[in-house]
C-alpha cells in the first residue's frame, strides 16, 4: 500500500507495460499510483521541501533517502516530465529547462571547456550559433560551421580540439534532413559528442538517440507542449552525460516552473495524436502549394523533389507541420501581402502549436540583417514559413488559396 501523502511516487509503479507511441505519451514517466491517488500528477507549487527532523536531512545528504530539497534542484512534477520525455526519446534521462535556449546553453556550459571547439551545420537556429560565436568565444571556446549535410566537410572541420558537433534535423526554415546515423558515426569515429536539435521532428517522427547520437535537444515550447501556451526546453541522453548538466542547472538556475511542467505533461499526452495531424496537414499544404501557379518552389521533406526526400522517407515516420515556400516573382512587400491576407494562421514566430502560424523569415527573424547577410543565411525576400497547426487541412488550403487571390 502506498501512502497517499508520499511525496516521491513509487518508481516501481512507473513501468508502462507497452511501447506504442500514444500509450507512452499518455503514461510514460508517471507513477500508476500517484500522490493523493489522483489520476493526474499534482502541481507541487513549492519553492522548498521540508524535512521532519535533522536526521532526515542527514539521511538525504548521505543519499539514503532520495527526495526533493529545493525547487531549483528539482520538483516532483518536473521529474515526471523528464521521465516521460526520456521514455519517448528512448533515452536514459532528460533534463528540463525554462526554454529551449536555456537547455542548449545549459548543455554546452556543462560539457565545454576553454580551448574546445564546436562545429555546426550552418542551418542551425541562429540564436544557438550566436550564443557560441559571441558568448562562448569569450570563454575561449572556438566555433566553426560547415554547409548543412556536407558530412565530408563536417569530418574535415573536426580537429583534436573539437568537443561537439551540432545540427538540427530537420533544419529551420530550410527543412534539410540530417542522416542522424551517419552524423552519430562521425562523432563516434572522432571521439566527439554529438547533439541533434530534434525540435522539428519530435520523438514521434525520429529518435536520434536510437541512431547513436549522444544528446537530443528539444524546444518543448513547440510540438511537445503543443498549445502555444508555455516555454520549455529539454535535453535527453544517457544518465552519465546528463548528470553534470543537471548539476549545473541547479547552479545556473534556468529551471522550468511547476505550473509550466504540468502544462507540458498535459500537452505530451496528445503528442502522438497531434503529430499525426501535423504530419498530415504539412503534407497536404505542401502538395497544394507545389501545384499552385503563384508558388515558385516548396521546401518540404515529404515532397519527392525535396533534396533530402530519400533520407527523410527512410528515417522519419512523418515530416512535420512546417512548410517553407517561395512566391513566384514577388518582392518582400508582395510576399508580405499574402501573409497579411490569410485569415486562419496567425502572424507570428514559433511553431508546433495547435494553431497555425505564418511568417516571412526576412521580416520576422532577419529584418536587422543586411541583404548580403540574408543571402548568406539563404533567406530570400519571397520566402514564407508556415507552421501548420491541427486545423482541418481543407480550411488551411482554402485560406491560402483565397489569400493568393486577395494579394493579387
Amino acid at each position: 500500500m502506498i501512502e497517499p501523502t508520499t511525496i516521491m511516487p513509487d518508481p516501481s509503479t512507473k513501468k508502462v507495460p507497452a511501447s506504442g507511441p500514444s500509450t507512452l505519451s499518455v503514461h510514460a514517466g508517471e507513477a500508476r499510483v500517484k500522490p493523493g491517488f489522483s489520476i493526474t500528477d499534482p502541481i507541487f507549487a513549492a519553492s522548498t521541501f521540508t524535512f521532519p527532523n535533522t536526521q532526515a536531512i542527514v539521511d538525504f545528504l548521505e543519499q539514503e533517502e532520495p527526495r526533493e530539497e529545493y525547487g531549483r534542484y528539482g520538483n516532483p512534477g518536473e521529474r515526471v516530465v523528464e521521465e516521460k520525455l526520456a521514455a519517448l526519446d528512448s533515452g536514459e534521462a532528460s533534463v528540463l529547462f525554462a526554454s529551449g535556449m536555456a537547455a542548449f546553453v545549459g548543455l554546452l556550459m556543462a560539457h565545454v571547456d576553454a580551448g574546445d571547439e564546436i562545429v555546426f551545420f550552418d542551418e542551425c537556429y541562429h540564436r544557438s550559433r550566436e550564443f557560441c560565436r559571441r558568448h562562448l568565444s569569450r570563454f575561449g571556446v572556438g566555433f566553426r560551421q560547415v554547409r548543412t549535410c556536407d558530412y565530408d566537410a563536417m569530418e574535415a572541420a573536426i580537429t583534436p580540439k573539437t568537443k561537439f558537433i551540432i545540427s538540427e534535423s530537420p533544419t529551420n526554415p530550410h527543412l534539410s534532413v540530417v542522416d542522424v546515423a551517419r552524423f552519430a558515426e562521425i562523432g563516434r569515429r572522432n571521439g566527439v559528442l554529438t547533439l541533434i536539435d530534434a525540435t522539428l521532428c519530435t520523438p514521434y517522427n525520429v529518435k536520434p538517440l536510437e541512431a547513436g547520437v549522444d544528446f537530443v535537444l528539444h524546444s518543448a515550447t513547440k510540438y511537445l507542449g503543443g498549445h502555444n501556451d508555455l516555454l520549455a526546453g529539454a535535453v535527453t541522453g544517457s544518465a552519465e552525460l546528463l548528470d553534470p548538466v543537471r548539476n549545473l542547472r541547479g547552479i545556473m538556475g534556468g529551471v522550468n516552473s511547476p505550473h509550466n511542467a504540468y502544462l507540458l505533461e498535459r500537452g505530451l499526452k496528445t503528442l502522438a495524436l497531434r503529430m499525426e495531424r501535423h504530419n498530415a496537414n504539412g503534407q497536404a499544404v505542401a502538395e497544394f502549394l507545389a501545384g499552385h501557379s503563384k508558388v515558385e518552389r516548396v521546401l518540404y521533406p515529404g515532397l519527392p523533389d525535396h533534396p533530402f526526400h530519400a533520407i527523410a522517407k527512410q528515417t522519419m515516420r512523418g515530416f512535420g507541420g512546417l512548410v517553407t515556400f517561395f512566391l513566384r516573382d514577388a518582392d518582400w512587400q508582395q510576399t508580405a501581402a499574402v501573409i497579411d491576407a490569410v485569415q486562419i494562421p496567425r502572424i507570428g514566430p514559433s511553431l508546433g502549436g495547435v494553431e497555425s502560424l505564418i511568417e516571412q523569415p526576412m521580416v520576422m527573424s532577419y529584418w536587422n540583417y543586411t541583404p548580403e547577410e540574408r543571402a548568406e543565411f539563404r533567406i530570400p525576400d519571397n520566402m514564407i514559413r508556415m507552421a501548420c497547426g491541427i486545423e482541418d487541412a481543407e480550411d488551411l488550403i482554402a485560406d491560402l488559396s483565397a489569400a493568393f487571390e486577395v494579394a493579387e
Binding site: 507495460p17 503514461h27 489520476i39 493526474t40 499526452k269 496528445t270 495547435v354 494553431e355 491541427i390
Partner: protein
C-alpha cells in the same frame, strides 16, 4: 469553417493588448468600471469573466447554439436546468442515465414538489405515454450510461415540441464531435466538461448550450443568481482541451469500436454493449444520429459473479480503476458498486446494471496495448 478549425479558433482571438496567441487567463474577481452607471463588458466575475466567456463562445459554436453557460461541475449545470421547473411541474427522464443525475431528480427535485417519471427513452412510444399535462421537461441521454442505450433525439424532439415541453440532452458521452442534439430539435444540451471536453482528467466543469437566445438568457440569469460558475483556470484548461477534442474523440471511438468487436469474441464475455456493433439494439438509431464514431465507452458483462468481475477490474495494467470517463487515460469500473452505487440495489438491477457489468472508458493509448491488457486481465477472472 469546419468543426476542428472552429474548436481551435473561436473565442481564442489573439490578445489585443499584447498580441499573445493564447488569450490571457483573467483571474480577477471584479472589474473596474468606466462609470458608476452604464454598460460595461464585465463587472463581477460571477456574472461573467473573459476566460469563461472564451470557453462559452467556443462551446456555443461547436454545439450550434445561441448561447453557452459554463458551470463548476456537470451536476451544477444539470441543477441549473432543473431550476427552470416550478412546484407542480413534472419531469420525464430515462432509466439508463448517470446515477448522479438520477439522485438529483429523485431525491432533490421531489423535495421541491416536482414529480419525476423514469421511462425507457429508447422506446419513443413510452416517452409519449409518460408525457402529462403538467410535464415541462424531458431529460435524455442520447447515449445512456452505463448500458450505452441509444435514444432517438429527433423522435423525442418531435414529442417535446408537440407537448410544449423543453427537451434537454445530456450529450456528455457523444460530445458535439459525434452528435449535435440542438440541430435535431433539442432545446438545451448539457455536457459534463469534466469528461471529453476537458479531456485530461484534470478539471471539473459543466456547460449548458441553449438553441434559443431567450432560454440561454434565463439559464445565465439563474446561474448568476445561484452562483455555481466555472473558474478561470478550468475555463482556460477547457479551451485548451477543446482544441484537440475532435482528434481525441475520433481516435478514442475507433479504439473503442475495435475493443467492442474483440470483446464479443471472448468466451468469458456474456454480452457487449456498444452502439457501433451491428447487433446492438441501438445500432440503427446510432447510425442515424452519430457521425464519425460511436463514442469511447464500452460496457460488457463477464460470465462471473461480483468477485470475478472485481478480480478483472483490479488486474488491468493500463486501464485504471476509477469512476469518470472521457479522458486520455483509459479507465475501468464496476457500475454496480462505483458510478451507479447511488441507485438502490433493486432499482439498479431493474434497469439492467448487473453485478458482472464492467464499464470501460477508452483513452488514447494504442489499441493493441489496450487489447493486450484486457486479454491478460481476462485470465484473472477465475480465482486460482
Amino acid at each position: 469553417m469546419q468543426f476542428r478549425t472552429r474548436a481551435i479558433h473561436i473565442g481564442q482571438e489573439a490578445d489585443p493588448s499584447s498580441g499573445a496567441v493564447v488569450p490571457p487567463i483573467h483571474l480577477a474577481s471584479t472589474f473596474v468600471l468606466p462609470a458608476a452607471e452604464g454598460p460595461a463588458d464585465y463587472d463581477y466575475a460571477r456574472t461573467g469573466s473573459p476566460t469563461r466567456h472564451a470557453f462559452e463562445a467556443v462551446m456555443a459554436s461547436l454545439d450550434g447554439g445561441a448561447r453557452a453557460v459554463a458551470f463548476a461541475s456537470g451536476m451544477a449545470a444539470t441543477h441549473c436546468v432543473t431550476m427552470l421547473l416550478k412546484p407542480g411541474d413534472h419531469l420525464v427522464t430515462g432509466t439508463d442515465i448517470y446515477g448522479g443525475s438520477w439522485r438529483l431528480f429523485n431525491d432533490v427535485l421531489s423535495q421541491r414538489g416536482i414529480s419525476v417519471s423514469a421511462v425507457d427513452t429508447t422506446d419513443v412510444a413510452a416517452v409519449q405515454h409518460a408525457i402529462r399535462a403538467e410535464t415541462k421537461m424531458l431529460w435524455i441521454e442520447p447515449t445512456g450510461n452505463p448500458l450505452l442505450s441509444v435514444t432517438d433525439i429527433a423522435g423525442c424532439a418531435e414529442i417535446a415540441k408537440a407537448a410544449g415541453v423543453l427537451l434537454v440532452a445530456d450529450n456528455t458521452l457523444a460530445t458535439p464531435v459525434l452528435c449535435r442534439p440542438l440541430e435535431m430539435g433539442a432545446d438545451i444540451v448539457m455536457h459534463s466538461a469534466t469528461k471529453f471536453i476537458g479531456g485530461h482528467s484534470d478539471l471539473l466543469g459543466g456547460v449548458l448550450v441553449a438553441r434559443d437566445p431567450e432560454v440561454g438568457r434565463k439559464l445565465h440569469w439563474m446561474q448568476n443568481a445561484t452562483g455555481a460558475v466555472m473558474g478561470p483556470l478550468e475555463s482556460f484548461l477547457c479551451c485548451r482541451g477543446v482544441k484537440t477534442l475532435e482528434l481525441r474523440v475520433h481516435a478514442q471511438s475507433a479504439t473503442a469500436m475495435r475493443l467492442a468487436s474483440w470483446l464479443q469474441k471472448q468466451q468469458s464475455v456474456k454480452r457487449v454493449y456498444y452502439p457501433g456493433l451491428e447487433d446492438d439494439p441501438g445500432s440503427a438509431t446510432a447510425k442515424k444520429q452519430y457521425h464519425g464514431g460511436y463514442g469511447a465507452m464500452v460496457s460488457f458483462e463477464v460470465d462471473a459473479d461480483v468477485n470475478g468481475a472485481q478480480r478483472f477490474v483490479e488486474s488491468t495494467k493500463l486501464f485504471q480503476l476509477a469512476v469518470s470517463l472521457g479522458a486520455v487515460e483509459s479507465l475501468i469500473e464496476l457500475p454496480a458498486v462505483m458510478s451507479h452505487g447511488a441507485y438502490a440495489p433493486e432499482a439498479r438491477r431493474a434497469v439492467g446494471i448487473t453485478d458482472g457489468l464492467i464499464r470501460l472508458s477508452v483513452g488514447l493509448e494504442g489499441a493493441e496495448d489496450l487489447e493486450h491488457d484486457l486479454s491478460q486481465a481476462m485470465t484473472k477472472i477465475s480465482a486460482s
